[in-house]
């Protein structure tokens, strides 16, 4: 008996053979189409570079105008506080109208108005410094306010130490940032980057590839062969799963060696939970494409339900707890939310089972349900 004969009589082997053929076809298609290579390899690399070198929430060199109505020796120290601070790129003016003009033209992001009597008033206890910021970027503006407050506070404290009659606040705050001691924004941007890459490869690419087969009718051609629906699905899932894992490995290497983000948890847990999320993303892509059967509509819907929420609602940039209740409830339906929690914890905090177990369980549940749904909505029927 030849191998083919054995396969004929063993249904399981025959199934494996059919799946293998489908995977082979898919891989060939992938390799021959430059766009899916671009999506699977170039896009993760671009994203890694952008996130690593382009994005930063750390504010420095903010252009401010420091207005001194009349220079006086008492305030030189305060002025040099602004001059030497790495956070400010200060220019010194003597007229307020000129400063206002600069602010309107966006030449500066803030104005600090120091009156000449500030040092004298400081002794009496009613000194005043005005800080004016451009609120067009609210987050930035608030950080600028904070830094200005810091620079002025330090000056007051130094004068107090020098024996001037000044009172510093009796209670001071000593703050410590756990898991990210150096306050490096890469630490939370890089885990977010992995979520985006996995979502793009998993959901977006799969949805497009499957929708194309529906749209072009090539799926019909496969329907007349003995392959079953679950085999067709597996034939799509296996190659794109592999591509997703390549993306993950790229990101992990970049995280560790380019951006020096620590991986404090177990790498195996990280890989395992990523596989779960990848399965979820892949099956969402398959469900969307089977339901829409059109590349254009599938792309729009995938964008709407996977990529944008993964960026905006997953808790990677914006704090979920501060969102209004309806939006917060909505985030519970997003797989990305659980994956972000897992990544942030496994990267920065370690294997905290209190976070890993519940989130991984939910993710596994969603993966199972979505795979089932993908199987249900994909039927050997013509549209």
């Amino acid at each position: 008996m030849t191998l083919a004969d054995i396969a004929k009589h063993n249904p399981l082997l025959a199934k494996a053979r059919r799946i293998k053929a489908l995977v082979k076809k898919e891989v060939r298609q992938m390799v021959r189409d430059p766009s899916s290579i671009a999506m699977g390899v170039i896009l993760p690399v671009i994203l890694i570079l952008l996130f690593g070198y382009g994005l930063s929430l750390d504010v420095k060199n903010v252009k401010v105008a420091v207005v001194l109505e009349a220079p006086s020796p008492d305030i030189t120290e305060l002025v040099s506080g602004f001059q030497l601070s790495p956070y400010f790129d200060a220019q010194f003016l003597t007229s307020m109208p000129r400063a206002l003009e600069l602010m309107r033209d966006r030449e500066v992001d803030g104005i600090v108005l120091i009156r000449s009597d500030v040092a004298r008033n400081l002794a009496v206890g009613n000194a005043q410094v005005q800080v004016l910021v451009n609120g067009t970027d609210a987050n930035h503006a608030r950080i600028v306010q904070g830094y200005a407050q810091g620079a002025i506070g330090q000056w007051a404290a130094r004068r107090a130490a020098e024996g001037h009659t000044v009172n510093v606040g009796p209670v001071t705050v000593d703050d410590r940032l756990w898991f990210n001691e150096a306050n490096d924004s890469h630490y939370f941007l890089v885990p977010g980057l992995i979520v985006l890459v996995m979502t793009l490869i998993g959901a977006f690419l799969t949805a497009m590839v499957m929708a194309r087969e529906w749209e072009r009718g090539t799926l019909e051609a496969i329907f007349v062969t003995p392959v079953r629906v679950d085999e067709i699905l597996l034939g799509k899932i296996i190659p794109y799963f592999a591509q997703g894992m390549v993306g993950l490995v790229l990101c992990m290497f970049a995280a560790k060696f380019l951006f020096h983000v620590p991986i404090r948890g177990s790498v195996w847990l990280l890989a395992g939970t990523s596989m779960l999320y990848l399965l979820v993303a892949l099956s969402i892509g398959l469900v969307i494409s089977s339901l829409t059967k059109s590349q254009f509509v599938a792309s729009q819907i995938t964008l709407l339900v996977t990529f944008l929420p993964a960026m905006m609602l997953s808790g990677f940039l914006f704090d979920i707890r501060s969102m209004p209740t309806p939006v917060r409830l909505l985030t519970y339906t997003l797989p990305a939310r659980y994956y972000v929690a897992l990544l942030q914890t496994l990267f920065l905090a370690g294997d905290v089972w209190g976070v890993v177990l519940p989130n991984a369980t939910v993710l596994a549940g969603i993966a199972f349900a979505m795979l089932l749904l993908a199987r249900l909505v994909t039927q050997k029927k013509l549209a």
Partner: protein, 372 residues
């Protein structure tokens, strides 16, 4: 010339029909941007309004109670636990049950009363260091209020340097006020670019592009006929988002609509130019879509939408100079919030005009090149 215009009108009409006749495509063009604007308007905020915290109060004094009451009464902080050991503190942070733990040592009140500075320790979950930093700033505010109070009730002079903070254009510094005008540019660009890139690729994939080629249309006319409907749809989309910002979120519109739309037209020209260029490279719809994505993501991330341009490294800041979205967001925010006029917007308008001119002529060159 007149005939050319007639032909372009006919093509525009055909294009609009092709896109809008499919109810699912119609739905996916009109509803998602509005939904996104609503959801992101509520979600995309760096402001915090619910910070769970735990307390390890080893002092249990009147002063420490006062300080904590200030936190509980702020409306932002809510206490999830009173801890009794440092061991517990770790679990609360690790398992994300609290964003902050405040530790007050047992000599807190004694030090205060003897006139020595007392300090409280704040431990923050740095997994999202931005959120943690903002929460710590809020704590400082509460502590400052406590300090002022303590001084006045103990006969000491008021705060030494009073800092008067004022913010222009966005008096309460709400993130929503700057994110939503920025979305006018972002969402419009995303949809317009994909729509343009797909419109040519679809015809190519379905073989109808060849039919178009045997008509008396000049390649440039085909291009204009493809660009115009996409710009129209883009303008409608931008208007929808503007209406949501204005009527739903009630963000006051400070500028003139005329200025805003002048900027918008330039921006749409640039976006459509990029879309057409992408579609002239792509052979299939899938390629068109993936390539537009490849272009869109860097534009989006380096636009100042999520993180300020001024925080980027200098070399990356140079790259943002060719990013039309960067200028569009700046124009939208400045017109919307600052009420800036054309004169003040010139530094943003002329680069966008150049980008539009370059991409459109590159696309038209590619078009002729690939067609003839």
């Amino acid at each position: 010339m007149f005939e050319a215009i007639l032909r372009i009108i006919a093509l525009t009409r055909k294009e609009l029909l092709a896109v809008l006749k499919d109810p699912r495509a119609r739905f996916s063009l009109l509803v998602p941007p509005i939904l996104q604007c609503l959801i992101f308007g509520y979600a995309a905020s760096y402001d915090l309004n619910d910070v769970p915290y735990a307390v390890l109060d080893q002092d249990h004094s009147a002063a420490s109670h006062d300080l904590l009451a200030g936190l509980d009464g702020s409306g932002v902080f809510h206490r999830v636990a009173n801890l009794d050991s440092v061991e517990n503190l770790k679990t609360y942070i690790n398992e994300r049950r609290a964003l902050l733990v405040i530790q007050i040592s047992q000599d807190f009140e004694r030090r205060l009363q003897s006139g020595q500075p007392a300090n409280i320790q704040v431990i923050a979950d740095g997994r999202n260091s931005n959120t943690a930093g903002t929460a710590t700033l809020y704590i400082e505010t509460v502590v400052n209020a406590f300090n002022a109070n303590w001084r006045s009730s103990h006969g000491q002079p008021g705060l030494t340097v009073q800092i008067v903070n004022r913010a222009w254009y966005n008096p309460n510094l709400e993130t929503r006020w700057d994110i939503i005008p920025a979305l006018i540019g972002t969402l419009t660009m995303m949809q317009t670019l994909i729509l343009t890139a797909m419109s040519v690729a679809r015809e190519r994939e379905q073989g109808t592009f060849d039919q178009l080629l045997v008509t008396p249309f000049h390649p440039v006319e085909i291009m204009v006929g493809k660009a115009l409907p996409c710009m129209l749809i883009g303008a409608v989309m931008a208007t929808n988002i503007l209406l949501v910002a204005w009527l739903w979120f009630r963000i006051p519109f400070a500028g003139s609509l005329l200025t805003l739309y002048a900027g918008l037209i330039l921006f749409l020209l640039a976006a459509v130019g990029i879309g057409l260029f992408v579609s002239s490279i792509a052979a299939t719809m899938q390629q068109a879509l993936l390539y537009s994505f490849l272009v869109m993501i860097p534009f989006m991330l380096l636009s100042g939408l999520a993180t300020p341009v001024s925080s980027m490294p200098i070399s990356v800041q140079y790259f943002t100079l060719i990013n039309p979205l960067r200028y569009a967001i700046e124009i939208a925010q400045r017109v919307y919030l600052e009420g800036a006029g054309i004169g003040r917007l010139m530094p943003d308008l002329w680069p966008m005009a150049i980008i539009a001119a370059v991409t459109l002529s590159a696309a038209s060159w590619m078009f002729r090149h690939r067609l003839e």
